[in-house]
Amino acid sequence: MKPRKLARAGIFAGAFLASLASASTALAQAKEQFFPVLVYRTGAYAPNGSQWANGYVDYLKLSNAKGGINGVRISFEECETAYATDRGVECYERLKGKNGGATVFQPLSTGVTFALTEKAPVDKIPLITAGYGRSESQNGAVFTWNFPLLGTYWVGADVAIQHIAKKEGGFGKLKGKKIALVYHDSPYGKEPIPVLQELGKTHGFEVQLLPVAHPGVEQKATWLQIRQQKPDYVLLWGWGVMNSTSLREAQSTGYPREKMIGVWWAGAEPDVKDVAEGAKGYSALTLQHGAEPNSKVVKDMLEQVYAKGQGTGPKDEVGQVLYMRGLLSAMLAVEGVRKAQERYGKGKVMSGEQVRWGLENLNLDQKTLDAMGFAGVMRPVQTSCLDHMGSSWVRVHTWNGKKWEFTSDWYQADEKTLRPMVMLASSKYAEEKKLKPRTPEECKK
């Protein structure tokens, strides 16, 4: 063979091999379900954000270790938002079309959720906001791509008042009481206000609003006001360093920690561990789970991920509250994909639109949850096209100076109060944005 022909043959052979390789890569990519992971491992909220991110990423790794989602492997990529809305949106734009398209976004920020709520329908990518985001997005008829699974801030506010009523001996005893809300002065912190005011009118208690500016390290004036006004209870709606600062200020102004109840973002180890004995008696709501070091899913994680040196964060944080929150959030997304595969084809990669169907038809009963290792960690979740929340179970846990312990039975949000508020707020949103809500018939398609 002449050298020229040899070269030509070589080029053809190379091209053939390259096409084979790219085809196999494409095949491999086609078999991977891509999960973008918006995290904040830097900045003021890093101690809390890192734990959530570790739990989230570890669960994706655990799913792969168990064979993926019906054989479909999970790929993921982190993007650092530093809890800043602009950076969250930038991450969304960067990752939404990557690796065949994003499965779902979970921004872990109410501010970013507000910003993405209008983008998600255009890009047809679901937003899971387990325990945060817009409370009215429970209404799937209007918020067709938002999934505030497990609970919203309105659920939190309602259950906090139920818990106070129980401690006081009934709702009738709330009349004339003063309940202060110390909140992060941001969309997140303002979310519970409408429900508290509504319940205040119904049960005759006064709501005192005390905003704290980001990041929440200066609260002297806030706690001086609490000392002056002497509220019967303080609800804490903080995040990151704001929570521990509130507890330190409560200690230094002598406000009893037993009268303080935090939302589920103000009830994790980073919030209390350095205050230690000073936070003893402080309670917080849980988004179903608390610290779950003895759960089966955590044991699986340690055996199948950490024992192989593939864990994302420190081993001793596995099972802590925010780690579990991240883990549960990832599990809900993975189960949404699994459900979608039941309809659109097992072992196939699902599009964002197909995953939305999966999330709208999620039905995790106790038997399934127990089999997955979540026995004692969470209760059943069942969503529908019109209900994107799926459940509203909440417990209360209390810091004993060393660890969190459950101190209440299960509560459920009062739908009679919340449903009309959700419908009203979501209708207003639909009107403002000129959206036509989906009908139950449209949901069946």
Binding site: A46, P47, D185, A213, S244, Q251
Partner: protein
Amino acid sequence: MGFFVETLIGGLMAGMLYSLVALGFVLIFKASGVFNFAQGAMVLFAALAMARFAVWIPGWLGIDNALLGNILAFLAAGGLMFAVAWVIERLVLRHLVNQEGATLLMATLGIAYILEGLGTSIFGSDIYKIDIGMPKDPVMILEGTFEGGLLINKEDFVAALIAAVLVGLLTLFFQKTSTGRALRAVADDHQAAQSIGIPLNRIWVIVWCVAGVVALVAGVIWGSKLGVQFSLATVALRALPVVILGGLTSVPGAILGGLIIGVGEKLSEVYLGPHIGGGIEIWFSYQLALVFLLFRPQGLFGEKIIDRV
């Protein structure tokens, strides 16, 4: 009345800490004409070093005594801050002599980002504890004079006392020692100071070392109160309105400015905040400083600069 006095005292105690950090800004500005935007990052870096050394050093040396561990950690963190000052002078300031003020300001912004990144890379981004035995529970005083008494936060009181002592020592250092006089000479006129044999580079290293010690003490106090975490860098920047108000070149201005801002922000939050939605103390302190500048553009005790053209 009792509540007003309580708020006032709370403001004064917070203001004393602002004065301390503001002194860090003033010292560097006086000696080198640089507005050191990295002061907040230095507080974070110093506090991180102290918190981690307080765990690491007793571990390395097998020491059980917490006090000894804290003293060694403080000395080690101080040494580290001296090293940081030396590196900053060698690698940054020395090369920017006679450059525009804006260039130097941007350089300190760069230093701030490097220190924040380096600090969290070396020491981690978790929340760390500094336990120097500060009292956490409040005490009631003057119960006979005011109804219900006055609540004094013992931790804030001790912190304000430490800050006041350090502020006093720094003032003495500036006014009474030969190094202090050299610093003031450099601040007045770089070239004239050099012409009489004052080594500019050595003076800069000294002043950045002093700012490092100020950052360390502020970091230890705030770290003990809030836990050592990233937000400490932003807390230190709360002293910015203090230097606007007090004047960038005045030590008494930093002290008085700190107290005015401390009291102003607490009183505004408590008495004005509820009427306009609350959460106002951070921007109110800037507002206060800016309004003040309308009447005294050079700040409370700042030098009035008159350029003849």
